[in-house]
Assembly symmetry: C3
Homo-oligomer: 328 residues x 3
């Protein structure tokens, strides 16, 4: 697992967000600032005109080395709602297998005057690599890198949790599923601990939980019923198809028997517990449709809030760019 080569890389000298690469190393106040900024955008969708002119004249390049219709679409929407000009650059990974070529690609797109790169890459550390090598004029937003981090997903989960629960500190939260291979889980754990929740649990079969679990500041459970007992929030992870066919898991049916979330199992949680999932759901594997579509599910709100959170992160990063321009 790569460690971010510089946790201060993403802050400028005034401590403001310059890149958004990982939750690691960010202070509680900054995470709250992201949530508060997102709050101001979350009210826009109800209005007939949803756009704000904050990034008018700015060019944002979506650099997707890995296919992801959903994430790319929500970023693209957030960019357009900020009035930015958007360039989509879908790059065949095979053409950029060598680091040298990634750098050439980076340099070329920089030369096209982008103000911001939104990067999705199958390799852990790719967004950091790009941020380290990018010119001062560019902000980098990590839209998911390998198994490392998916910080905007984590922050939209935090936003959703705060919307329903208000204060983070008293909360007990369970993350269920393939934590080991999940960049989402890794970012969620960092965010939840930074925001000071009472207890973070990870729940799943031994083969899908990281061995360094305790050093992450989480409690480990291998039984679902026990793991969700008295929690305020259940965060389900998506089970990747490629995991199913491997040696780490028996089969879909058996997985659901042991770790699929049902209304019955949810009864162990607090009566007002909410259920999150990053989507798309594998119904009948990670959870029952009754749960996915039930009153405790906030899964579709996560999608909506995701746009506001991405608008927040991008406008904050661009604001720190504007600081720079003001100085120059």
């Amino acid at each position: 697992m790569p460690s971010p080569r510089s946790s201060t890389l993403q802050l400028n000298e005034n401590g403001r967000l310059r890149h958004f690469l990982t939750i690691e190393g960010l202070r509680r106040e900054l995470l709250l600032q992201i949530l508060d900024t997102a709050e101001s955008f979350a009210s826009l969708p109800g209005r007939p005109v949803k756009k704000v002119p904050l990034l008018r004249g700015r060019i944002i390049t979506n650099l997707f080395f890995e296919n992801s219709t959903r994430t790319r679409t929500t970023f693209e929407l957030a960019e357009k709602l900020l009035s930015a000009d958007v360039i989509n650059f879908n790059i065949d990974v095979s053409a950029t297998a060598k680091g040298e070529t990634l750098l050439d690609t980076l340099r070329n797109i920089e030369a096209m005057h982008s103000d911001m790169f939104v990067v999705r890459h199958g390799q852990s550390g790719a967004a950091h690599f790009i941020a380290e090598h990018a010119t001062q004029r560019v902000s980098v937003i990590n839209a998911g890198d390998g198994r490392h981090a998916h910080p905007t997903q984590a922050m939209l989960d935090m936003f959703t949790i705060r919307k329903h629960k208000g204060d983070f500190t008293p909360l007990r939260i369970a993350i269920v599923g393939d934590v080991l291979h999940s960049r989402v889980a890794r970012s969620q754990i960092l965010a939840l601990n930074t925001l000071g929740v009472s207890e973070v649990r990870i729940v799943g079969p031994r083969t899908l939980l990281p061995t360094e679990a305790r050093s992450l500041g989480v409690h480990v459970f291998n039984e679902l019923a026990e793991g969700v007992k008295d929690v305020d929030v259940v965060i389900m992870l998506r089970l990747q198809n490629e995991r199913m066919n491997g040696a780490l898991l028996p089969n879909e049916h058996e997985y659901f028997q042991l770790y699929g979330l049902t209304d019955e199992r949810l009864e162990n949680a607090k009566p007002d517990a909410i259920v999150l999932h990053p989507g798309p759901i594998n119904r009948g594997i990670e959870m029952d449709s009754a749960v996915a579509d039930g009153p405790r599910s906030v899964i579709l709100q996560q999608v909506s809030y995701g746009i506001a959170v991405r608008m927040a992160v991008m406008s904050m990063a661009m604001q720190s760019q504007a600081d720079l321009e003001g100085e120059a």
Copy 2:
């Protein structure tokens, strides 16, 4: 064949257009309102600045479950000319084979704050399904569903006919080709009958005409020469390649011998008859190049008018959304 589950689904309580799914059930006055609204947009292309700010700040998602560069491009253009923000969502049909998954996709895109879905789908009834399950905040425009309907194509044909012929009532109109499998023909027949033309004919081999022809309010002809005799308008349909190789048709050459439109055969029609085709033309199969490029062809005008008609339908549907917002 699916019947629309609710012909009133597409109108709001004031009888205004809320979705545009099918011509079926729409009153003559509403069809004329679409044509009149399109008329106001049809003059824009001559001006240096073609845009109107009607849908500024609105988000339109093009949901194409079926590939169609032309239709998607004309919709996208119409959306941009209305100043909307456009998201293109091309969806692999295989990933959405189950209705459940279509619904999940729908819910997710709704959660992204779209104001309007433009839907193209290989299955009849897909646009209705989406309109039935969409939230109140969203309008659905059918850009072609299976063999069911292609109402914007039909309305652009009506617009083109009115441009050349003025009044619909005295007209005699022949629709030639594979009527049986054509969503375009189905929508055209409904529109022409609602607009009160004197006579609608369908012309083609028995294997390509619907058996319920007479209940559709059309006259059936199996001979082309006879079918176009004294008509004011000839609407040619596109012959799908997959039909060629099947059992329903002999072969391309023989089809052209029997049903291909030539200048000679057009002499049976009125001297000022016009020829329409939804494009792209199979030259030498459905018609001679002499006809396609000749003085009676209005095929390229159809393309131009299609943008104005799509602008009209989308702005009307969004206006009825605005009514709703005004009330709220």
Copy 3:
């Protein structure tokens, strides 16, 4: 090799740029006007708001019959910075193999009210063909056609050279590599000669240099060291992969031994010589990384200037359209 069927096709009756298809037949003053106009756009990227409203309300269709992420992206950026509405139309070449079908495609896109086509095509003469057959309302920009021309690439090279060298007349310039198959080289030679440089050289193995070299007004060199001796500018061409595997070249390693640019070989050039390359670079084949990333390389500046040059050409062509509209 196709000769442009009409060198005056690209100028209107006032001698202003109407299409931009080839450097051939354009006067020095016009090339300088393009460079001067580009100069006014080149300062924009430094500003927070980079857009100008020159083409607001105009529709530009990118017609790419040949894949080219880079060229399409820089054109798209230039179009958005001019505030135009952009439609991307990627066309499978197989579907348009016949000229007739290309014309049908053209007519259809014209009917969609485009003001400008940016055309990339694998066949020499394609952009001319489209310009000849397009209506008066449309300007055509050649973004590369077969082995014929790539005039915007040549003009961005001229812009880059002028930025560094000021006056063209005293310059000695070497173009190195596969000149025979290069539309870029062809356009560069025409531009350099029109702008009156002192000497244009082409350098490469006999199999990759055109036989009509002398009639092009260039000096031929088969030795790299000799070819770059005392030059002010070295323009490296990209070696196409398909050439490597053919009979025209030994192999990559041997090519680099003979024609790869290294710091050592560059010592033959003037001390302040600059190195250009249209990208993407094949490192270790056309040149060493030390050269590509060294102080004499202006390769990334070429990318940046390319946007300004494309903005210039498109705004000039649209201006001549506006003249036309003024008269009408």
